[in-house]
């Protein structure tokens, strides 16, 4: 049952669905029944071996100058405080605070010319996680995911994996990208949108609810300005309990807290119910949503995967004992367990939003754990023979301004910049040690090979083996194209 073209819509009413659930485990609503109408058109491409995909997202907008596109020849007000270092690849330079990635440049390619038009966090995130720029360029903070949104790349990819009776096709970890400081605000574009909430990615929530940004427990607070630091009033990671737990399985984002609590309560009774769930999962008329949940709960392989503390100490050290490292380690374990598409956030919402104190925050908090964790992840995949089968993409919602902004009395920073960002691609057949595209001399605009978020999404869909003309039928019954751009084939040649 892995062929999306064979996905059928069970002819059942709500009452029957509730009865089928038996345990009342996941409370299917009328909306969920509607979601079942979504279906796919277009088989995986003949002769193609579908890859898996990991989309690493740096929320807030990482600066291209201080990561993958340094400009050592630019004026001081543009190049910033950091130097550039040579990599294993002649002619490729990275920020000096990414030495481990520099040693592994043969494993990844850089696209230095991705652009879109929004400088707004919510719009930018929506654009980059859904691969669709047809959204208002600014979006109010109150905007919530809706059933009219373009499906998120990961959600749509998971839909096409159709892992019925297997681990879920799409997972988000260790948290959804949100906005503002309030918990539960989920930036649109990550859910299944008009595919229907039954196809939302599964949230594997592992991170604690720390108010800090970055790689907990070594996290920081945006409010730690000079006065705060000088007086010793800094934020400290102080959330009781583990920084990063063996994750609880969480319901898709569009379900209510009440439903979530009921599920958690039932999870505690899980062991006693397992046999019964196993029987239910063999029921061919079961809806996909319920089936996925059951497969999650009954798969011992998946449950083992979530217990990342089983890893050897050397592996834990290699990734880094912090939120970034544990997230990517958990990601590798889920890939091994059969999950095919994973969105991983390195830092909660706005972590990379560096309007001020950009240099100390990058040097002391963000670049070292990112360098370590991403390098370890690439090494680990390569050593396990998985790198060729997994496309790794790393991006943010936008880049940052070429000129450093330094308001009087404020430490320097860079502001939002949609017109350019650098994207890292690795694995999945990508030819490493290459730079695709180029930015202008100040690092403000694409100079060669401009690419769009639609192209990035198409590259992911292509890697997953989704046919170029593939369409899906949304919950309104309308046929919608999967591809809104063109795969970046230059990555493979």
């Amino acid at each position: 049952m892995n062929d999306p073209t064979k996905l059928t819509c069970p002819r059942v009413n709500r009452r029957q669905l509730m009865q089928m659930g038996g345990l009342g485990l996941l409370g299917v609503s009328a909306a969920d029944v509607g979601c079942l109408r979504a279906s796919a058109e277009g088989s995986p491409q003949a002769g193609r071996v579908p890859k898996k995909v990991v989309y690493i997202f740096l929320s807030g907008g990482p600066p291209q100058h201080e990561t993958f596109d340094p400009k050592p020849e630019a004026p001081q007000t543009v190049r910033g405080e950091f130097g550039a270092i040579a990599t294993k690849t002649p002619g490729m330079f990275l920020c000096e605070h990414l030495p481990l990635l520099a040693q592994r440049s043969d494993k990844f390619a850089l696209l230095r010319s991705l652009h879109h038009r929004s400088n707004d966090h919510i719009a930018g995130t929506t654009i980059m996680v859904s691969g669709d720029t047809r959204v208002p360029l600014t979006t109010p903070l109150s905007k919530k995911p809706s059933a009219e949104d373009t499906p998120g790349i990961v959600a749509l990819a998971g839909f096409y994996q159709n892992n019925r009776g297997r681990p879920p096709g799409a997972v988000v970890l260790p948290e959804y990208i949100g906005q503002g400081t309030g918990a539960g605000r989920i930036t649109p574009g990550q859910t299944a949108g008009r595919l229907g909430s039954a196809h939302d990615p599964w949230l594997v929530k592992a991170a604690s609810d720390c108010l800090g940004w970055g790689a907990c427990p070594h996290c920081f607070d945006d409010g730690d300005d000079d006065a705060v630091v000088a007086l010793g009033f800094q934020h400290e990671h102080s959330v009781p309990g583990p920084v990063f737990e063996d994750p609880s399985l969480s319901l898709p984002a569009t379900l209510s807290q009440g439903q979530l609590k009921r599920r958690i309560s039932l999870l505690e009774q899980f062991e006693g119910q397992r046999q019964r769930l196993d029987r239910l999962s063999g029921n061919s008329s079961h809806d996909r949503f319920r089936q996925q949940a059951i497969s999650l709960l009954t798969s011992s392989r998946l449950r083992r995967a979530l217990d990342f503390h089983l890893e050897d100490d050397r592996v834990l050290d290699a990734y880094g004992r912090n939120k970034f490292g544990w997230s990517l380690l958990l990601c590798r374990r889920l890939l091994e367990a059969g999950v095919s598409t994973i969105q991983v956030s390195l830092g909660r919402n706005g972590t990379w939003d560096l309007h001020r104190r950009i240099f100390p925050l990058l040097k002391d908090y963000l670049l070292p754990p990112t360098d370590l964790a991403v390098s370890a992840f690439l090494d680990d995949l390569a050593q396990r023979g998985m790198l060729d089968q997994v496309l790794v993409v790393m991006a943010g919602e936008f880049g940052r301004t070429p000129r450093i902004s330094a308001m009087r009395g404020r430490r320097p920073g860079r502001d939002h910049w949609g017109p350019l960002q650098s994207v890292m691609f690795a694995g999945g057949g990508v030819v490493g040690g290459r730079i695709l595209g180029a930015s202008d001399k100040l690092g403000g605009f694409p100079k060669q090979l401009p690419k769009t978020p639609e192209d990035l999404a198409a590259t992911i869909f292509d890697a997953l083996g989704i046919a170029p003309g593939a369409k899906y039928r949304d919950i309104q019954g309308k046929s919608q194209p999967v591809y809104l751009g063109t795969p970046i084939t230059e990555l493979y040649s």
Partner: protein
């Protein structure tokens, strides 16, 4: 508004401890953008109370200190124990007393 409340406003650079190289703008209510302060210049030594406006997840978020203010320099002394120092210590860094010496920034800074 007292004389000191007016005089303290501006942009200051931390000159001791020298390694900090911090810049702290002071408005009528805030040190930097997050720390609220209140002065009492009717006592000797003059007192300054400081508190982070968002104390969550901060082991220390307030301090009761003393200060000395001239046109060019501002010295603040407080104590990690939470008690207000009675006087400026003879030497910086003695005991649990903490010092900041700030110099007013002028345009060429």
């Amino acid at each position: 508004m007292s004389d000191d409340s007016r005089k303290i406003q501006g942009v200051w650079r931390v000159v001791s401890p020298a390694k900090l190289e911090y810049i702290i703008p002071i408005s009528d209510q805030m040190l930097g953008s997050k720390v609220l302060y209140q002065l009492n210049d009717q006592v000797h030594p003059k007192q300054i109370d400081m508190q982070h406006r968002r104390p969550r997840a901060r082991p220390r978020y307030s301090a009761q200190g003393i200060y000395h203010l001239t046109e060019e320099t501002l010295t603040i002394c407080w104590n990690d124990s939470g008690q207000r120092p009675a006087e400026f210590p003879k030497q910086s860094g003695t005991g649990r007393d903490r010092f900041l010496v700030l110099r007013r920034m002028v345009d060429q800074d």
